[in-house]
């Protein structure tokens, strides 16, 4: 993965419809994003299909990143992660087939971002470490593996509602720590 400044520049050029920049962006970031879709979807051909859709979205929405101001790699991962989660959500039994809009960070610029980012990693780690190990694992499992409450409950061998209660409480605790 290359530096954020280079990825940002490639994304900006994509927003101006520079196809060459798009190819370059793909070459530099596709391994990361394939890692995301594969980890969440756990099926190579589905992950490949998803990767294709993800890059279509990236091209179509590149200008939203430029207008947004957000770590470019986080933004790309968010597109891949949200797309993969949409697929999972649509597949789950209780699914009501609602078309969920892609939610990526077209948010206001955050001037503190660059300064903050380097500290984020240790911060989330230290806040997660304040939780019980299995609860921290559940948060990670939801974020990194796209596990649902049902899957988390099965993996941790607790009833569904217990898992839900645990995790919700853990999230509040985590928030308190993260915003301190």
């Amino acid at each position: 993965m290359d530096g954020p400044a280079e990825i940002t520049e490639l994304l900006s050029r994509c927003a101006l419809r520079d196809r060459q920049a798009f190819g370059e962006l793909y070459r530099r970031t596709s391994a990361k994003l394939f890692g995301v879709t594969l980890r969440i979807l756990r099926d190579r051909s589905e992950a490949e299909e998803a990767l294709q859709e993800v890059y279509v979205k990236i091209w179509q929405r590149a200008d939203r990143f430029v207008a947004g101001g957000y770590s470019p790699i986080s933004w790309l991962v968010a597109v891949a992660r949200n797309h993969s989660l949409d697929i999972l959500r649509a597949r789950r039994p209780q699914s009501e087939d609602i078309d969920v809009a892609l939610e990526v960070a077209d948010t206001a610029p955050d001037p503190e971002r660059a300064a903050v980012e380097s500290g984020e990693r240790s911060r989330i780690e230290s806040c997660l470490s304040e939780l019980d190990t299995d609860k921290a694992d559940a948060v990670r499992g939801a974020y990194l593996d796209g596990y649902s409450y049902e899957e988390l409950a099965t993996r941790h061998s607790v009833p569904l509602n217990t898992m839900r209660t645990w995790l919700r409480r853990s999230l509040l605790k985590l928030r308190e720590c993260l915003s301190a």
């Binding site: 190819g23 969920v100 948010t107 509602n161 217990t162």
Partner: protein, 237 residues
């Protein structure tokens, strides 16, 4: 113990948890959509979402790189830029050629505007440059035709509405250079824009025309400040 029993206290705490669940992707489809819709209109929830995204993004490093299968980029590019049949309406060279070749009346009526002037010789037109300016979600689109005989661009608004206290401004982006203003443009009528020598020098296939929404009278700095609402590259037809 059921989830109804959680003592989350204030409703804002409840919202904090909901947004965290939303960002993590834990909500069922209907609830996910509902929370997403609330976030879009409630600034406090939007800030909450930003907090979670930014903080959790620190975990992104744990996604291991896995080389993507060969052929994905090719398929994406075909889909996005495709050959004429795959490129959709705007990228369809066949469509532009058919307009140029005399399907003018039908095509122009179909989109509600007289895109071409009847006096243009089809052969000449066939060597002209055209750009379709659009942007997903903006609702504003233009078609631009470059007429080399007059060194002007005829810009026709296909869709879009005036915005109070704002003006649309047209820019030319040539190669890697900074955008050059081509002036404020109307969104409700057609306009012929004489191309200045500065723009003309680099004007040709691949020149990107972009429309931004600027303060009344256009950007005061000479550089675009507002959001891009439509853009497209000039293509030879």
């Amino acid at each position: 113990m059921s989830d109804e029993n959680i003592s989350t206290g204030s409703s804002s705490e409840e919202d904090h948890v909901l947004v965290a669940e939303y960002v993590l992707g834990l909500l069922a489809p209907a609830e996910h959509a509902e929370v997403g819709a609330r976030i879009a209109i409630e600034p406090s929830l939007m800030a909450e979402q930003r907090l979670w995204r930014l903080r959790l993004a620190a975990l992104d490093r744990e996604f291991a790189d896995v080389p993507a299968p060969a052929g994905v980029l090719g398929r994406v590019e075909t889909r996005l830029f495709g050959r004429s049949e795959a490129g959709g309406f705007w990228n369809s060279l066949a469509l532009w050629r058919s307009i140029a070749a005399g399907g003018v009346a039908v095509a122009a009526i179909a989109i509600g505007f007289n895109v071409l002037t009847p006096r243009v010789d089809p052969k000449l037109f066939a060597e002209q440059l055209v750009a379709a300016l659009q942007e997903e979600g903006s609702g504003v689109s233009f078609v631009a035709l470059y007429d080399p005989t007059t060194a002007s661009v005829r810009l026709t608004a296909l869709s879009g509405a005036e915005v109070p206290d704002k003006d649309y401004e047209l820019w030319a982006i040539e190669g890697g250079s900074a955008p050059i203003s081509m002036g404020v443009i109307p969104v409700t009528s057609r306009i012929d824009i004489k191309i200045t020598p500065q723009v003309l020098a680099g004007f040709g296939e691949g020149t990107v025309l972009a429309v931004t929404l600027e303060q009344k009278g256009g950007s005061p700095t000479g550089a675009p400040q507002g959001p891009i609402v439509a853009k497209g590259a000039a293509t030879l037809i």
